[in-house]
Symmetry: C2
Subunit: 170 residues, 2 copies
């Protein structure tokens, strides 16, 4: 499926990308998050070639993001559902969607999908909050630092980039 594994890089981003696999993996996670579950549904949603789809579903199963269930024996037919680990990627998909909405990367006239509050109907969006108080924090206050699991490379990235690190606020 690819030349180089992204696991073993001591980076949570690389590890997440390894679990997802490639760009088709992201689109399948989108469809699974929206509730699609069958091979032909994924095909008609994405126009993904059948062999590629089969490979990517196997990959997502092998990395624990989805579970396969046989729902018919003759002919054999499986359906797929996200595991809790796979479902937990929804925030990654939301962040990609919001960026694509802001920069009109959807290529159409307006956002194709809205995230709303079930109770109030208000639009929802991602924000950064204090992990303890749950209060939103302005982007200019965000800083990064080496975590307990930082290896030499992470420390080098942080020190090399320190003076040129862009502010995160838009």
């Amino acid at each position: 499926m690819r030349a180089k594994s992204f696991s073993g890089m001591a980076c949570s981003i690389a590890g997440a990308l390894e679990a997802i696999g490639d760009r088709w993996g992201f689109l399948l996670l989108r469809d699974l998050t929206l509730g699609l579950s069958r091979f032909d549904e994924f095909q008609s949603s994405t126009d993904i070639p059948a062999q590629t789809l089969s490979d990517r579903l196997k990959h997502l199963e092998s990395t624990g993001l989805l579970a396969r269930r046989r729902y018919q024996e003759r002919p054999p037919r499986d359906e797929y559902a996200l595991t809790p680990k796979g479902r937990d990627l929804w925030m990654v998909l939301a962040a990609l969607r919001e960026w694509g909405d802001r920069w009109r990367a959807h290529g159409t006239t307006a956002p194709p999908l809205d995230m709303i509050d079930r109770d109030s109907g208000n639009p929802l969006e991602l924000a950064v909050v204090d992990a303890k108080t749950r209060r939103p924090v302005k982007a200019e206050r965000i800083r990064v630092k080496a975590g307990r699991g930082a290896d030499m490379r992470m420390k080098r990235r942080l020190s090399s980039g320190a003076m040129r690190r862009p502010e995160l606020h838009r």
Copy 2:
């Protein structure tokens, strides 16, 4: 670089993935967000093959995520910095990192990178907030619906998946 373009899918997630390119694109965006700017810094950070690195930098420039600046003429050397559009992807990276931290996808003993509040030093994390009031909203209240830009496929995904759509809360 790849067989199929993800633009023209009328999906903000697909459009964002097209702009980023592939998994190397994500790692380069990580490094640029941390402040790395030079070819050899990206190489030593990621072990990416030189030709692949060159291709991916060109791709990120062509999709408007980074800008190239010549800082030395003999021999010619360029440095790279995120544009506002590229910098704005930091929340996607944060979401991938948080997921990798939660599921120990980093493959090491503890999270390699922490996001903290400059002022209080408290850990920060992503959350979903009401876009108007900025108040956090519990995950079980999140719903999706067709946006004004939804095409037939998006509407079909939403209707096919409606009964099987997983709750988003962990």
